[in-house]
C-alpha cells in the first residue's frame, strides 16, 4: 500500500486501505511520544503552517505538537491579526504561504469545501483541520484509532454518534470512516438535529437514546455547537440533557465495556454528566493522546507522497 495523495481533505475521498495505512502508521508513531526525547528527524527541514480561520486550541496545538515531534518547523497564522482582515482571499493567502516555500498548510475554515478549493489551487500539501459542516478527517481518524485500540477491531462494531449531527463535521467524517471499515453507525439525536438525507450515507437513525445505548459497542458524543448560527434550531439545554444526555443511569443498561468518546471540548451537564466524562468507560483523554500519533502519521504520509511525485 502506497500513499499517493498530497492532501488529506476528508475520509469520503479515501479508500479503506488508505485509512488503514494511516492507522497502522499512527500505531508506529505512538511510541515516539513515550520516549524521553520525544522527537524524530523525519520532517527535518520541512515547514508546516497552521492556518486557522476559526478558533481552535486543541486541534491546532495537537497539529503543532505532532509537527514538532517530527522535527518540522511550525508557523501559526491567526487570521484575526493577518491580512485576511484586509480582505485577502483564501487562495491569495495560500499562494503567499506557498511562495514562502512552506511544505504543508494545516487549515481550519468555517466554509465547507474550503480545504478542497485550496488544495486544488496549490502544489503544496493541504491538511483539512475542519471545514464548516463538511469534514474533520483527523478527528475521525483519532476516534477510530482509539476505538480500534480499545476493542481490537472496527469491522462488525456498532457505533452510535449522538447529538448535534446537523452541525457536525466530526459526525460526517466518522460516518465515512467507520462504514468504510465495516462498522455499523447509528445516529441518535432529536429530529431537529438530524439533517435531511443523512440516511443516504448508510447510517441508521434513531431518536431513542436508551434503545441505542443498549445495543452499541461505543458511543461518540458530539458537542452541542451553540455558537454555530444564532437563531438556528437548538433544543433547550436542560431538556436536551434530560432526553439525550449520557448519564451513569443510562449507561447502567449498556454493555459493561462500552467505549464513551467525545471530541471535546465537553459541555458538562449538557451532552454528558461529569461522572460519565470522568468515568471508567470514558476514553476522552486517550483520544487527545492518540490525536498526536494520528496527526504525525498524516503529516508524514502527505509529505512522503509529495516527495515521491517530485
Amino acid at each position: 500500500m502506497i500513499w499517493t495523495k498530497k492532501d488529506l481533505l476528508g475520509l469520503e475521498y479515501l479508500t479503506k486501505e488508505e485509512i488503514e495505512l494511516i492507522l497502522d502508521t499512527a500505531e508506529s508513531f505512538k511510541e515516539v511520544s513515550t520516549r524521553e526525547i520525544k522527537k524524530v528527524p523525519a520532517l527535518r527541514g520541512k515547514t508546516a503552517v497552521n492556518l486557522f480561520y476559526e478558533p481552535s486550541t486543541r486541534t491546532r496545538v495537537s497539529f503543532e505538537v505532532a509537527a514538532k515531534r517530527l522535527s518540522a518547523d511550525v508557523i501559526n497564522i491567526a487570521t484575526e491579526t493577518s491580512s485576511v482582515r484586509k480582505g485577502e482571499t483564501l487562495i491569495d493567502t495560500g499562494k503567499n504561504i506557498q511562495a514562502l516555500k512552506a511544505d504543508i498548510i494545516i487549515m481550519r475554515h468555517n466554509c465547507s469545501g474550503a480545504a478542497n478549493m485550496l488544495a486544488r489551487a496549490l502544489d503544496i500539501s493541504v491538511v483539512n483541520a475542519g471545514d464548516g459542516w463538511h469534514e474533520h478527517p483527523t478527528q475521525a481518524l483519532l476516534d477510530i484509532f482509539t476505538l480500534k485500540e480499545k476493542l481490537g477491531k472496527i469491522k462488525g462494531l456498532n457505533v452510535a454518534i449522538v447529538g448535534d449531527i446537523a452541525h457536525s463535521r466530526v459526525a460526517r467524517s466518522n460516518i465515512w470512516g467507520l462504514t468504510k471499515l465495516g462498522a455499523e453507525v447509528i445516529l441518535c439525536a432529536p429530529e431537529m438535529l438530524l439533517p435531511v438525507g443523512i440516511e443516504l450515507t448508510g447510517a441508521c437513525i434513531s431518536t431513542n437514546i436508551d434503545e441505542v445505548l443498549e445495543k452499541v459497542d461505543a458511543v461518540n458524543v458530539l458537542r452541542m455547537q451553540f455558537e454555530r448560527d444564532e437563531g438556528a434550531a437548538f433544543p433547550e439545554q436542560l431538556d436536551y440533557f434530560k432526553k439525550y444526555g449520557i448519564t451513569e443511569q443510562r449507561l447502567s443498561k449498556a454493555k459493561k465495556d462500552i467505549v464513551v468518546m467525545h471530541p471535546g471540548p465537553i459541555n458538562r451537564g449538557i451532552e454528558m454528566s461529569s461522572a460519565v466524562a470522568d468515568g471508567v468507560n470514558s476514553v476522552i483523554l486517550e483520544q487527545v493522546t492518540n490525536g498526536i500519533a494520528v496527526r504525525m502519521a498524516v503529516l508524514f504520509l502527505v509529505s512522503q507522497a509529495k516527495d515521491a511525485g517530485r
Binding site: 508506529s28 502519521a297 516527495d307
Partner: protein, 179 residues
C-alpha cells in the same frame, strides 16, 4: 531477480549465530549489562536468536529490543519506494548498558548510521557494538562490524538476500543478480 548462489543454509546460519554469541560474551566478559537490539525487519529475529544462544551459554536472560530506522534515514526525501514506518520497541533503559546492534546485511553503512542516531535519542549507552550476519562490503560511511557471521565479497550488481524462518519460509542466505 535471478537466484544465483546459496551462501549459507540453515546449519550455516545457526553456526554463525552461535559463534557470534560466543564472541559477544567473550568481548563483554559475560552477559551482565548486555542488551541486544535488532534492526527491523530481519535484524530483530537474528537478535532474538543471539539472545537465546547467550541464555544457553551463560544461563542469563538478555534484554532484547526492536528498532525501526525509517524516520532517521538520510535518504527519506529521496527514497523511491515509500518506506513503511514500523514500531520501535525498546522497553528498557539503555543508559549505561552495553548494546549490541544487530542487522542481517551490512552494505553501505547508512542503515547503521541511522540506527546510531535513533539509539542516541533513547539515552546514553556505555557502548554500542555491531553484529551482522553478512558483511558484503561497499561501505559508503566509516562504519565496521564488531561481529560478522560471514564476509561475502559481492559486486554492486548483485544483492544479498537473507531469509529467516520467522519471516520467510526457510533459513538461507543467497546472492541474487539484480535485473
Amino acid at each position: 531477480m535471478k537466484e544465483k548462489v546459496k551462501i549459507l543454509d540453515q546449519e550455516g546460519i545457526s553456526r554463525a549465530i552461535m559463534r557470534i554469541s560466543h564472541e559477544i560474551i567473550e568481548r563483554n566478559k559475560g552477559a551482565s549489562g548486555l542488551c541486544i537490539i535488532g534492526i527491523r525487519n530481519r535484524g530483530v529475529y537474528i537478535a532474538e536468536r543471539i539472545a537465546d544462544c547467550i541464555k544457553k551459554i551463560e544461563g542469563a536472560d538478555v534484554l532484547t529490543g526492536a528498532l525501526d530506522i525509517t524516520l532517521y534515514r538520510d535518504d527519506l526525501a529521496l527514497a523511491s519506494g515509500q518506506p513503511l514506518v514500523r514500531k520501535t520497541e525498546i522497553d528498557f533503559d539503555i543508559n549505561d548498558k552495553n548494546l549490541v546492534l544487530v542487522d542481517d546485511v551490512l552494505y553501505t553503512g547508512r542503515t547503521i548510521r541511522a540506527a546510531l542516531d535513533a539509539l542516541i535519542d533513547f539515552g546514553s549507552p556505555r557502548s554500542i557494538q555491531l553484529a551482522v550476519l553478512v558483511d558484503r562490503g561497499h561501505r559508503e560511511l566509516p562504519i565496521r562490524a564488531d561481529f560478522v557471521g560471514k564476509n561475502i565479497p559481492t559486486s554492486n550488481k548483485e544483492s544479498v538476500e537473507v531469509r529467516l524462518r520467522e519471516f520467510d519460509i526457510s533459513d538461507e542466505v543467497l546472492i541474487v543478480e539484480k535485473e
